[in-house]
């Protein structure tokens, strides 16, 4: 038996069996959604990939409300984790991360994660290392209702000494194979381009591991750049990436993944990401001034994402939209009034 973080497979099954799966209007404010579904000590599944469709708006709201002793589960993440980590450095009594189950935390072209270095090199947060496929497959096992999933990698890696995977000889071929325990977060945070009021989601561009994270978790908060007519959603049933009955809350938040990339709508903000990352790098070296200023200005000093975006020059917002030219949204929709 292993120690499960989040729900055990049997708890997850029982939880879902008792869940209200009705097709009802799930719109609510982001404040209420976070209040209702994100608790201290939760295992939180972070959707998106590095800085693509990270649930930034939801994370900013969590930071404003404050949550402690979180366990964060993700394959590769950037900004969402960096924001939570920055909040912890500024005031650990209000926001804190206890543990992370991860494959990668950095910002690719924008550089390494300053606060991963700070946390790990000072032994502040407990880490469990996996590969990208491992974390994706763990969510997939959860979404399949299976307690584990076999995987061929990374056998022979030192990661196996530090995570809960086990190696067995395959009963059918006799060769070694890794078994990964399923992941069932208490709540998944997901940002998509389009959703309807019932929670059906249509993801544009790469799906990352969003459908699996959503289907594996007990609760799901969805933010979307656009809330669209239900009729437009169900016109393409095989393009529904996350079905309504898995979702608990739907909130329309244009630019909800900013300053990251939301495929087809806006590219990375190549000015804002380095500005935030630079403040984190200073914090790693012991100077919190820039980081505190950033949070006071863009997170604590605003009520929501709309106010955050309002603080930025329109030209900068237009630039991230323009940088996405040539990328098509591949299904037509009517914006909900």
């Amino acid at each position: 038996m292993i120690e499960w973080t989040g729900l055990s497979p049997d708890e997850a099954r029982q939880f879902l069996a008792n869940k209200d799966k009705s097709k009802r209007d799930k719109r609510m404010s982001l404040k209420d959604a976070v209040q209702k579904y994100v608790k201290d000590g939760d295992n939180i599944g972070i959707a998106g990939f590095v800085n693509g469709r990270q649930p930034i708006a939801i994370v900013h709201e969590i930071i404003r409300q404050g949550r402690k002793d979180l366990c964060l589960s993700y394959q590769s993440a950037g900004l969402a984790i960096e924001y939570l980590a920055g909040a912890m450095i500024l005031d650990e009594s209000k926001n804190s991360i206890k543990r992370m189950e991860l494959a990668y935390w950095a910002h690719e072209a924008f550089g390494i994660s300053p606060l991963l270095r700070y946390f790990s090199e000072n032994g502040i947060v407990e880490l469990e290392d996996w590969s990208n496929y491992n974390m994706s497959a763990r969510f997939k096992a959860g979404s399949m209702g299976l307690p584990f999933i076999p995987c061929r990698s990374p056998l022979g890696s030192d990661m196996l000494q530090r995570n809960r995977a086990t190696v067995m000889d395959c009963p059918f071929t006799g060769r070694p194979i890794m078994l990964l325990p399923a992941s069932h977060p208490n709540v998944a945070l997901v940002h998509v381009q389009e959703a309807d009021i019932y929670g059906n989601c249509r993801i544009q561009g790469p799906l990352y591991t969003c459908p699996e994270i959503a289907m594996a978790s007990a609760h799901i908060i969805v933010t979307c750049d656009r809330l669209i007519e239900h009729e437009d959603m169900v016109r393409y049933p095989n393009r529904v990436s996350i079905p309504f009955f898995s979702v608990d809350a739907v909130i329309e938040v244009p630019f909800g993944a900013y300053p990251g990339n939301s495929h087809g709508l806006y590219y990375f903000d190549e000015k804002h990401i380095p500005e935030f990352r630079g403040a984190c790098e200073k914090a790693r070296k012991g100077d919190l001034t820039a980081l505190k200023e950033y949070y006071d200005n863009y997170i604590f000093g605003v009520e929501n994402t709309a106010e955050f975006i309002n603080k930025l020059p329109l030209s900068q917002i237009q630039h991230v939209q323009k940088a996405e030219s040539g990328i098509r949204l591949d299904a037509a929709y009517t914006v909900l009034g």
Binding site: G52, Y104, R117, S120, R162
Partner: protein, 268 residues
């Protein structure tokens, strides 16, 4: 106009070397950073038939929409032939659809095992390492399950060690016969290591790293001195063809004009 460039940086050289190593008409699963730049250059030069795969889901895109800043960003999906997510991409590698994995790392040993997790003592120092690196990402999955692996990294003595801090992405493990098969790997392991100084491969019998070619300005001696373990030096080491004027132009003007991955000093 002369064919060869006389004014290029080591970063540009490594991209050219990486690009030329990629065969046309193969499925190449590319990691972030230099592999993305090199595969773009290859697609624009000798390898229009290269099928790039990115772990966030894109298969067979045209990399003509600007250099992706992430293996998951919109630009990796332009005119892609198939696009789902991470699970589907890695399932392709296990099945055998990925001919090459193209990855980087911070530290390497003679058997091509790579570290991109931490520097310091392991396992005791794991929760408080000397330096923490970003982590595996998908590199370890590519190293295990793509049919062959091509590694690209900066050549410095501190990065080439007989024993590395942590094996993130397995190469030939301890180098013993059939080590990968016995570990359960599907793929055959590393084929080339492209560095800022050399093109390297692996000895067929011992699986230790061997020198294949020296890059412009380097010698067998300078390369051995920059390597923290003894290289196998065969008799047929040759000098690698310098970058052409056209290759350097493509990198500077078309692929990475902002210098996101090229020209920037790589620091872990």
């Amino acid at each position: 106009m002369p064919k060869y460039s006389t004014d290029f940086t080591t970063q540009e050289m490594i991209v050219v070397a990486g690009s030329r190593t990629l065969p046309d008409n193969k499925v190449i699963f590319a990691g972030t950073g230099l592999p993305m730049v090199a595969i773009t250059l290859a697609q624009l030069t000798h390898g229009p038939g290269i099928v790039p795969v990115f772990e966030a889901g894109a298969v067979g895109p045209s990399l003509s929409c600007g250099l992706p800043l992430s293996v998951g960003d919109s630009r990796t999906t332009y005119k892609a032939n198939y696009l789902l997510g991470l699970n589907s991409a890695f399932e392709l590698t296990q099945r055998g659809f990925a001919d090459y994995g193209f990855i980087g790392g911070a530290e390497i040993d003679p058997y091509g095992n790579l570290n991109s997790t931490m520097m310091g003592s392991f396992p005791d120092g794991y929760q408080k390492p000397k330096t923490r690196l970003p982590g595996s990402g998908g590199a370890s999955d590519m190293a295990c399950s793509c049919e062959r692996t091509i590694i690209i990294m900066v050549h410095e003595p501190r990065r080439f060690n007989e024993k590395i801090s942590y094996i993130t992405s397995p190469g030939y493990l301890d180098g013993s016969p059939n080590a990968r098969w016995r570990a359960g790997h599907a793929g055959q392991g590393p084929e080339r290591v492209i560095t800022t100084k050399a093109i390297l491969g692996f000895d067929d019998d011992t699986k230790r790293m061997k020198l294949i070619a020296t890059l412009p300005g380097e010698t067998v001696k300078s390369i051995q001195e920059a390597t923290g373990f003894e290289l196998v030096i065969p008799n047929d080491v040759y000098e690698f063809e310098p970058p052409t004027v056209e290759e350097i132009r493509l990198i500077r003007e078309v692929i990475d004009p902002q210098g996101y991955f090229v020209k920037k000093k790589i620091k872990e």
